[in-house]
């Protein structure tokens, strides 16, 4: 199904190969898991398999990649897409239609399928991923987890022979990850070959036939999944744990803050226009120094709560409280900061150093600004990037910078929306350290995350949100 032979691939204008000396074969019904620290070449491997490299992206390819018997140098990505389905790391990037139903149907139309066959395939695929209720929704209103399910459903509708998944678990709650694993196991049984690129490894234990560990574009190790049980290898390659316990059951429910009026919300009510109520009469009180996991199934309203607490949405009823008094939404950013999932949107200066300087509160004395910025860069492990343009950073680096910018303002409440999605083990542990540091300095951290490993490392309490009926 997939043959990668002694591949050396170099991007246009790059001075060294992104992948070097990679070779493996994958047969129908087999699963290959590729992992490694950020920037090791995993996404490049995805682009080589789906044909975007070299025909679409350019660059030079030595060696050969054959998918279902077709050489990727001679077959356009559009033609290869009839055999290969690709799930992007950020699923929003692959949407082309505006509604979920249209998105699922679109690729099938371009194959010339009959309308009744399209409808059948769309319904079956939507049911398989549990998104049948979303078929009429616009793609812009979906949560990140829902987007991932929709993207996968659109691929499955086209009945691919090879499925390439780039960090498929990054935005899914653990239950959805288990569902995904079951779906993929079913596909595997039906003869679909799978290439899965992911930092999170524990969910892949029963699924992977082969594991490929990359570092700086080269193969470091390959073999069965059991090789990831080697702690030294994981440490050396910046990998995450191969086995993760679910801490959600053992975390205590968040206790109301003891410091009266530190930060919270009182009788909060909210609903989107023409939508169901997301919150009704919700009261929460937070205390300094805590790191609270905000958990709940995809679409339960976790991001909406973050937006309400930081003034990005106006509550219909109730208020957000700081220092014991209700605060108007416009004034909330000086009390609470949120780092949203698209961290790149929050970066606007010419260099990392300037970005942090811009993020400092305006009343910071001039002689304190330099040391504050330097200290923050060191805490978040981005000091070596000081002169880099923020938009030129990798996704993980942008995420760390965005969190650093929010933390440097020293808000009472720091809300992080999936801060470790797409981070390798090394950077995830670094982020956890920075979060502890922010809590020690007196902030309360509310972490929206499905990352059980992060929860194990830093969270001491939880708030569970459930979908309103």
């Amino acid at each position: 199904m997939l043959h990668v032979e002694s591949v050396i691939y170099t991007y246009p204008h790059a001075d060294r190969p992104a992948l070097e000396g990679i070779g493996f074969s994958l047969h129908a019904g087999e699963t290959l898991v590729c992992t490694g620290r950020s920037g090791c070449g995993k996404s490049t491997l995805v682009r080589l398999v789906n044909g975007l490299a070299p025909l679409y992206l350019g660059g030079t390819l030595q060696g050969r990649v054959r998918v279902a018997g077709q050489d990727t140098r001679e077959t356009t990505p559009a033609m290869l897409a009839r055999s290969v389905g690709t799930l992007f790391q950020d699923p929003e990037r692959q949407f082309f239609a505006i509604t979920v139903g249209d998105e699922l149907a679109m690729g099938l139309q371009w194959r010339g399928w009959q309308p009744d066959r399209i409808e059948r395939a769309v319904r079956e695929s939507a049911q398989r991923l549990g998104v049948e209720d979303l078929l009429e929704h616009t793609i812009f209103g979906l949560s990140e987890g829902q987007k991932q399910k929709v993207a996968l459903a659109s691929l499955l509708a086209a009945e691919p022979r090879l499925l390439v998944l780039d960090e498929p678990s990054a935005n899914l709650d653990p239950e959805s990850v288990a569902d995904l694993a079951a779906t993929l196991a079913g596909l595997k049984e039906s003869g679909v070959a799978l290439v899965i690129v992911d930092h999170r490894l524990s969910w892949l234990r029963g699924l992977a036939d082969k594991v490929l560990v990359l570092d700086r574009g080269r193969e470091v190790a390959s073999g069965p999944f059991a090789l990831l049980d080697d702690a030294a290898l994981r440490e050396r390659c910046g990998l995450r744990a191969a086995e993760v316990a679910d801490p959600r059951g053992s975390l205590d429910e968040s206790r109301p803050g003891t410091e009266d009026g530190f930060f919270g919300c009182r009788r909060l009510g909210f609903a989107y226009p023409k939508g169901r109520a997301v919150f009704e009469d919700t009261t929460l009180a937070f205390a300094p120094g805590r790191i609270i996991a905000l958990v709940g199934e995809n679409g339960a309203g976790k991001t909406t709560l973050a937006r309400l607490l930081t003034g990005l949405e106006r509550p219909r009823t109730g208020a957000v409280i700081a220092s014991g008094a209700a605060v108007k939404p416009r004034a909330l950013p000086s009390h609470a900061q949120v780092v949203l999932q698209n961290a790149g949107h929050q970066l606007r200066m010419n260099s990392v150093e300037a970005e942090l300087d811009d993020a400092l509160p305006p009343d910071t004395p001039r002689d304190r600004r330099g040391p504050e910025v330097q200290g923050c860069m060191e805490r978040f492990g981005i000091a070596h990037l000081a002169a880099r343009h923020p938009q030129s950073l990798s996704g993980g680096e942008q995420q760390r910078l965005a969190v650093a910018c929010a933390a440097v303002r020293r808000p009472r409440m720091l809300i992080l929306d999936e801060p470790t999605s797409g981070l390798d083990g090394e950077n995830m542990r670094r982020m956890a350290g920075a979060m502890r540091n922010a809590a020690e300095q007196g902030a309360c951290l509310l972490v929206i995350t499905h990352d059980l490993e992060l929860m194990n490392l830093v969270c001491t309490e939880k708030i569970v949100l459930r979908k309103a009926c």
Binding site: Q109, N342, H345
Partner: protein
């Protein structure tokens, strides 16, 4: 049961108009707005096209796009003012003459919004393809129109990010909004191109129209109103109050 997920959505007035009528409207509106030069005629057409745009999206969405049009006008006014100050022999600054291109832009923006916010992209593909337009015309055209909702969505996300780190004045607009937006637009264009490639857009298979689409009374009424509005605008140009072109 629906025949396909690729049928038009009917929740707004504009969504219920046949895509052929919408495309015709865009084409005729653009041609006439280029041919006309009277601010009165163009203002009248801008008003009519605004009604169509309001039939496709919430007023707030339209208002956001208008903000851009106004900013573009402000930039044009400012730079032409600077040129007239620096090189007086080259041009005389007058806001009135700039109103004509501005109104033309406004008409185009209204018509594009009406089309982009009320038409599923696949319907547009199918229709343009059925007119035997070459791939290099209908694919880029559809992708460009698909870009509009993405652009509006990006604007909303960047506005949220800017609100979290407030600044002041022009710097706030430039650093908090314009810079991230430029980067995001470049990324979005690249993403959409890759998504189209992997979906097989423009590949050899001929797509099938999901159902035979018939014109409705609404389509006939919109087409008739458009013809009347365009005729009225042309008559205003020749028989209405005359505006002497101002020297630039």
């Amino acid at each position: 049961m629906r025949a396909s997920f690729l049928t038009e959505r009917k929740e707004t007035f504009a969504a219920g108009i046949d895509v052929r009528v919408k495309l015709l409207l865009c084409f005729c509106g653009s041609v006439v707005s280029i041919a006309l030069s009277s601010p009165l005629s163009l203002g009248f057409l801008a008003g009519c096209s605004m009604l169509l745009a309001l039939g496709a999206a919430r007023p707030l969405t339209i208002a956001r796009m208008y903000l851009f049009a106004v900013l573009m006008l402000a930039f044009a006014l400012a730079f032409s003012g600077l040129i007239s100050l620096a090189v007086p022999g080259l041009m005389h600054w007058n806001a009135f003459s700039l109103s004509v291109p501005f109104l033309r832009i406004l008409i185009s923006v209204n018509l594009l919004l009406m089309l982009a916010l009320s038409t599923p992209v696949q319907t547009l593909f199918n229709r343009l393809q059925s007119w035997k337009l070459p791939v290099w015309v209908h694919v880029p055209l559809s992708v460009a129109i698909r870009f509009v909702p993405s652009f509006i969505n990006d604007c909303a996300q960047i506005r949220d990010a800017a609100r979290l780190r407030p600044g002041a004045g022009l710097r706030r607009f430039w650093r908090g909004f314009a810079v991230p937006l430029v980067f995001r637009m470049l990324y979005s264009a690249d993403d959409l191109a890759m998504a189209a490639e992997l979906k097989g857009v423009g590949s050899a298979a001929k797509t099938r129209l999901s159902q035979k689409e018939c014109m409705t009374r609404r389509d006939a009424a919109v087409a008739a109103c458009t013809a009347l509005a365009l005729s009225a605008a042309v008559l205003m140009q020749y028989y209405g109050p005359q505006f002497r072109p101002q020297p630039m």
